[in-house]
């Protein structure tokens, strides 16, 4: 208990040129330098917003250069929630990486699971049975609705509409209950695994999903009743934070933020994965690229998600949910006690995982925020050699200074809400 602590490393003396030398030799970019702003003229003011600001949706720091109330320039400062997950992937077997993906975009964990699983499955060249794919779709769309409900509640709250906030969270509870039912936990589900699912869904799943299918369209109508034609809402959001199609594309913006500008780009349509091509749904788009259009797009998207869930649920095929490839999926429980071969497979898979062929793949899914991609490099071992996550929140955040230029400082909050970032997704 009283073991002596190892001697502390002497702190750097802080000589300016010491840091400069370190930067030069190590090539480390100076964090402070990166966010330093150019003083535009003497009348401007520099304002720190965050990282503890309630409206930055997490720990985001914005250094805003103001001329009166008008934003002249803005630099987002990120990294407060850096978790090093991409690095952690490299020291864990593929199946063990799944719980990490949950925690990146923590408002839609199943979609993160799905993206990572699809990348590994692509590397392995395996396909999940149809039932597994359909359940994946149901879980992913439920997660999308849940995430959009949070966005709706907090976005409205940011702009002063406190009423819808608790209603949205109340409705999201049903989705969390479904998560809890199928996986055992409410948020960090780890339900979608490489090669299939954690397990097939239990019997109580059907009534709960039916409940969502029947009640949610009504809830969404209620929200629209409260907000969509509300004059204050219209004043605050129309014509705010406009981004044109060209700029959105060149910033790599994706998801509802891009569709609000009028580009019908949705990965579920553009590169259908997990049998999304079996379902009929529309991709809502906006035309002005402002906060209001992005709001409309997301509200409509929730309705489309309900539509997808309905189709997937009604046509849910029977059969296995996991791949039959025993090199990837754990053997069924009842076989472990009777078959030596299964037991050996079980031991091998648990202790070592499976090996993937050498190579690199990119698989992307449409997350509630945009294109969530996983780029995996495999050296043929049982762990990823490198995993790069193309996080939609990060790309969308990059366009934030552009969208906010020339806006009032009060509208910055509206624009942040409208791009719907999750800082866990930005920083990873």
């Amino acid at each position: 208990m009283t073991a002596a602590l190892p001697p502390a490393t002497p702190p750097p003396t802080g000589e300016p040129d010491e840091y400069a030398r370190a930067r030069e030799t190590l090539g480390v970019p100076s964090h402070l330098e990166a966010i330093e702003l150019t003083q535009i003229d003497d009348d401007t003011m520099e304002l720190n917003m965050g990282p503890m600001h309630p409206s930055t949706h997490g720990v985001l720091r914005l250094v805003v250069n103001l001329d009166g109330e008008v934003v002249r320039e803005m630099r987002p400062d990120i990294g407060f929630l850096h978790t090093g997950f991409e690095r952690s992937f490299e020291s864990h077997t593929y199946q063990q990486c799944i719980p990490f993906t949950d925690r990146m975009d923590y408002l839609a964990p199943p979609i993160n699971n799905l993206g990572f699983s699809l990348a590994v499955e692509k590397l392995l060249g395996i396909e999940v049975p149809l039932r597994g794919q359909y359940i994946r779709v149901i879980m992913a769309e439920l997660a999308r609705i849940g995430s959009h409900l949070i966005w709706f509640g907090t976005h409205a709250l940011d702009l002063g509409a406190t009423t819808p906030f608790l209603y949205a969270w109340r409705e999201r509870e049903k989705i969390l209950d479904i998560n809890e039912l199928v996986s055992g936990v409410r948020m960090m589900t780890s339900f979608i695994r490489v090669g299939g699912l954690m397990a097939d869904v239990p019997d109580e799943f059907s009534p709960m999903v039916e409940d969502v299918i029947h009640t949610y369209p009504g809830f969404i109508d209620d929200y629209e009743l409260l907000i969509t034609k509300n004059p204050i809402w219209l004043e605050r959001t129309r014509g705010t934070g406009v981004i044109s199609v060209e700029d959105a594309l060149s910033y790599g913006v994706s998801g509802p933020t891009l569709r609000g500008s009028g580009v019908p780009y949705d990965l579920r349509k553009a590169q259908p994965y997990s049998s999304y091509d079996h379902f009929e749904f529309d991709v809502p788009i906006g035309s002005h690229g402002d906060v209001y259009d992005r709001y409309l797009v997301r509200m409509q998207e929730m309705r489309e998600s309900v539509r997808i869930i309905k189709q997937a649920f009604e046509n849910l095929p029977d059969g296995p949910v996991n791949t039959l490839d025993r090199k990837v999926a754990l053997p069924p429980r009842n076989e472990i006690n009777t078959s030596m071969e299964s037991l050996i497979h079980h031991f091998k898979l648990v202790t070592e995982g499976f090996r993937t062929p050498r190579g690199h793949v990119y698989a992307a899914v449409e997350s509630p925020r945009g294109e969530l991609g996983f780029y995996l490099v495999s050296d043929g071992s049982n762990r990823p050699y490198r995993c790069k996550v193309r996080a939609p929140s990060f790309s969308n955040l990059c366009a934030l200074p552009y969208m906010c230029r020339g806006e009032l400082i009060a509208d910055v909050v509206a624009v942040i809400g409208s791009i719907d970032i999750v800082l866990g997704d930005v920083d990873r």
Binding site: S91, T163, S183, V185, M188, V350
Partner: protein, 211 residues
Amino acid sequence: MFKEIAKGMAFTLKQMLSKPITLQWPEEQKPSPPRHRGRHILHRYDNGLEKCIGCELCAAACPVGCIYVGSAENDPAHPVSPGERYAERYEINLMRCIYCGYCAEACPTEAITLGPRYELADYRRERLVATKEDLLEAWPGFEKSLADNPRGAGADQREQAGRAPGVSPRVAWEDREGAVGQAGRGSPAAGQEGLAPHVPTVATPPKRNPG
């Protein structure tokens, strides 16, 4: 403008008349679904033998390396488990655990499962390293009590008058009369005296390939 306000108010009034969905926690408890991933339970067979055979598969499967299994050979005259080996020490660092359930999936004998208990907050870190005694189901009929009471072992144990063996010292501390009033909640020294000696070794993560 007034029309909008009226519409909004009408909606709000409608909500005021609907039944609240909130629970009066902790007096009211939300039942956990069967797959609930709460604090772990180590199971026994009906004859009292432990199901765990000390194979360490759970420790290998754990993504965060928070399980420590120290296995030993069974004495054939007084076996602890039906296999050749048993877990002499079994510890889970609950502060590190992410409740992913991989350990339960890995266990070949269904010795470890994740139970329905989720209220795990405590005032001292040491108590959050669950030892084998904390985790092991304690008395015959435990399965039944677990089925009867979906809140699970944790809630059940707290209501037992003469606490069954294997109750976490946390319960002992909370039940001590006046402990809270005297020492003050949250003070790290609160209720230290009178505790069963419980000095767990912090679980050592299994070696992991750094690359």
